[in-house]
Amino acid sequence: MKKRDRRSQSLRVSESQSQKRNFFEMLKRILLAIIILVGLGLADWIISRALGPDSYYLQIVIEVGIAIILAVSLNLINGFTGQFSLGHAGFAAVGAYASAAITFYFGAKLVDMVAGLGVGPAVAKPLVFIGVLMVAGIAAAIAGLLVGLPTLRLRGDYLAIATLGFSEIIRLIINNRPEIGGAAGFTPLVALPKFVSFFWVYLFVIITIVVSANLLRSVHGRALLSIREDELASQVMGVPITYYKVMAFVLGAVFAGFAGCLTAHQNLALHPNDFDLIASVMIVVMVVLGGMGSITGCALAAVLLTLLSYALRSTEGLIGGCLLIGLAIISLALAGRRMRSYQKSILSAALLMGIYLLLKASQLLLEQRLAELRMLLFSFLLIMLMLTRPQGLFGAREFSLARLLEYLRPLLRRQTHGPA
C-alpha cells in the first residue's frame, strides 16, 4: 500500500513537472520563432540594401529559395515515402495559377476591402498576400488529393508515368483556358504590388524544412519511412499505407503550391511551359542528387543546381564549366589503372567528347552562342555527377559537421606526419 502511494505521488509530481517543462518548451519555441522572424526581416533589409531591391543577384537568391522549397517538398514524397513522382511542377502550376488568378481578378478589390476594415494599407497588403498564399496551398492540396487518391495503387515506374500524365494534363488544360492566359502566358500581375521578397521566400524555406524535419522525427515520419523501406512489411505491421501515401502527396503538393505562388508573384508573369516535364525533372534531379531522404542534401543540391544554371549563363561560368569537365576527365584518367576494359572505352569516348566540346565551346564563345552551350554543359555535368556519385551527394544522411571533420581527419593527420 505504502509503496503504491509513493509511486502515485511521484508520478503526480513528474506530471506537474512535465507540464511546467512543456510550458517552457513552448515559450522557447515561440521565442525562437520570433528570433527567426526578426532575423529574416533584418537579413531582408541588409540584402536588399546590399544588392539593391531589383537586382539580378537578389532574383537569383529568391529563385534559389523557391528551388529549395520545391526540392524539400518533393523529398517528402520521393525521399521519405519512396513514391516516385514526376509531376511536382504540376502542383506548383496549380498553386501558381490559382493564386495568380485571384491576384489578377480580385487583388486590388481585396486590398481595398481589408483596408476598409480599419487597418491601414501597409497592413492590408501583406494580409491579402498571406490569403493568396493560403489559396495557392489549398488549391495544390486538392490537386494532390485528386492525384494521390487514384494513383496510390501504382508503384515505381507506373506511378512516375501516371504523375507525369497528370501534370501534363494540368499543363494542357491551362494551355487551353484563355481566362488565365492560355498558351500565350498570364501577364502582368500588377494588381498586387510586388510582394515576394527575401523575407517571404526564406520564411517559407524555413517552414518547409522545419515541417519536414519534425515530420521525419514523428510517428508519422517513421510510418512514411517504413513504407519506403518495405511496403508489404509495414502494411503487415498495421501502418495505414493508403492514408500515409495520400498524406505525403498532399503535404508535398501544398508546399509546391506555395512555391508556385511565390514564383508567380516574383516574376509577375506565368507561362504554362515553365511547368513542363523538364521542370518536374529538374526538381527530381535535385532530390536524387542531394540524396533521397536527406533534407539538407536536397536543399544543398537545389542551391547548387540553381547557382550552376545561373553560373553557366555568363562567359566566365561557361569557361569554368568546361574546366570542370576537363578536370573530371583527368581525374577519371588518373584512376584509370584499376579500370576494366569497358570502363576504358567509356573513358576514351568521354575524353574525345570532352576535347570536342572544349573546341566547340571556344568556337561558340567567339560566336556568342552562350545559351545553347549552357544546357549542353548542364546535361553533361548531370550525367557525370550521376555516374560518379549515384547515391547522391549525401546518400540518405543529413549533413553534419562532426562527420565532415571525421572524414577530413586522416587527410589532416597525413599532412602533419608527412607522407606515409
Binding site: 516516385f84 487514384p150 501534363e168 570502363q343 546535361s379 550525367i383
Partner: protein, 306 residues
C-alpha cells in the same frame, strides 16, 4: 466529304501514327524487359535518325532506302554506345540513378543537336523517288478508286514498312537464339547468366535493336510530317512510352497493340472532338488504363516487389 470518307481519313492517319508509335514502343518495351529501365533517351534517337536521313538525302543525294539503312546503322551504334557509357556503370545502383542519367542523356542529345544544327526546323524531302515512289503512288490511287479512302503514298510506305518490321521482329524474338536469350534475360537476368548467356552482350544488342527500330520510326515521322528539328523525338517518345505502358510494358505484342490503340484514339479525338485536346487524350487514356489495369492490356497479373 461523306461520313465514311471522313472516318477513313482519320483511320488512315491513326493507323500511320499508330504503327510509328508501335515501332518506338517496341524499343521502350524491350529495354524495360531486359533492364527494368525507362530509357528516356529513346525518343531522341528518332531525332538523330531524322537528321542523318535528312543529310544523307539532301547533301549526299542518297536514295531514301539507303538513307534509311544508314540511319538504322548509325542509331543502332549510338544506342549501344549510350548503354555502355551511361547505363552499364550504373547497373548495380538504384534504378532511379539510371533513370536520371537517362534523362541527362536525353537532354544532352537534344541540346547537342540544337547546337550543331540550330533550333529552327528544316524541311524534309517528302517525295519517295524512283520505282518505290511510283509503286506507292499507284497503291494510293488504287485505294482511292476501289476503297474510297484517301491515303497518301507516304502513309502507305509508313504502314507497310512498320508492318514488315513488326513481323521481322516477331520472328527474331520468337525464333532465333538471340530472341530466346533476350526473353530469358527479361524473365530472370541472373538465372540467364548462370545458364551461360552473355547478358552484357545481349543487353547491348537489345539496345542496338531498339534504337534501330526507333531510327526507322524517326525517318518515317520525317516522311509523314516533314519537319526535322531538335525536339522532334520528344513528344512521340513520351506518347510511345504511354503506348508501351498501355499494352503492358515488357510485352512485345502489347507494345504493338498499345501503339495502334493510342494512334487511333488520338486521331479520332482530333477528328471528332477537338484537336486542342489531342495530346491530353493520350495522357487521359494512360491514367485510365493504369487505374483499371495497372499491368496494361496484355500484362500478366504479377505482383511487383519493391
Amino acid at each position: 466529304m461523306g461520313e465514311f470518307e471522313r472516318f477513313g481519313l482519320y483511320f488512315v492517319q491513326g493507323l500511320a501514327w499508330g504503327s510509328v508509335y508501335a515501332l518506338i514502343a517496341l524499343g521502350y518495351t524491350m529495354v524495360y524487359g531486359v533492364l527494368r529501365l525507362i530509357n528516356f533517351a529513346h525518343g531522341d534517337i528518332l531525332m538523330v535518325a531524322a537528321y542523318i536521313a535528312l543529310f544523307a538525302i539532301t547533301l549526299w543525294h542518297l536514295p531514301l532506302l539507303l538513307a534509311l539503312l544508314l540511319a538504322i546503322a548509325a542509331c543502332a551504334l549510338l544506342g549501344a554506345l549510350i548503354e555502355r557509357g551511361a547505363y552499364r556503370p550504373l547497373r548495380n545502383q538504384p534504378r532511379l540513378a539510371a533513370l536520371i542519367t537517362a534523362i541527362g542523356v536525353s537532354l544532352f542529345l537534344e541540346n547537342l543537336a540544337q547546337l550543331l544544327f540550330g533550333a529552327a526546323p528544316r524541311p524534309f524531302p517528302t517525295e519517295i523517288g524512283g520505282r518505290l515512289g511510283a509503286l506507292m503512288a499507284l497503291a494510293s490511287q488504287r485505294c482511292r478508286q476501289s476503297l474510297q479512302i484517301q491515303i497518301e503514298p507516304n502513309q502507305i510506305f509508313i504502314i507497310i514498312t512498320s508492318a514488315g518490321l513488326l513481323i521481322l521482329l516477331h520472328l527474331l524474338v520468337s525464333r532465333t537464339r538471340f530472341g530466346r536469350a533476350m526473353r530469358a534475360i527479361s524473365f530472370d537476368r541472373e538465372a540467364a547468366s548462370l545458364m551461360g548467356i552473355n547478358t552484357d552482350r545481349i543487353i547491348s544488342l537489345t539496345f542496338a535493336l531498339g534504337s534501330g527500330l526507333a531510327a526507322v520510326a524517326g525517318v518515317l515521322i520525317a516522311l509523314g510530317w516533314p519537319k526535322v528539328w531538335p525536339l522532334l523525338g520528344f513528344s512521340p517518345g513520351i506518347k510511345a512510352f504511354i503506348a508501351a505502358v498501355l499494352g503492358g510494358i515488357g510485352s512485345i505484342p502489347g507494345a504493338v497493340l498499345g501503339g495502334m490503340t493510342l494512334g487511333m484514339a488520338e486521331y479520332m479525338t482530333a477528328g471528332y472532338i477537338s484537336s486542342d485536346y489531342k495530346d491530353a487524350i493520350a495522357f487521359a487514356i494512360l491514367i485510365i488504363i493504369l487505374l483499371i489495369r495497372p499491368k496494361g492490356i496484355t500484362g500478366k497479373g504479377m505482383i511487383e516487389k519493391a
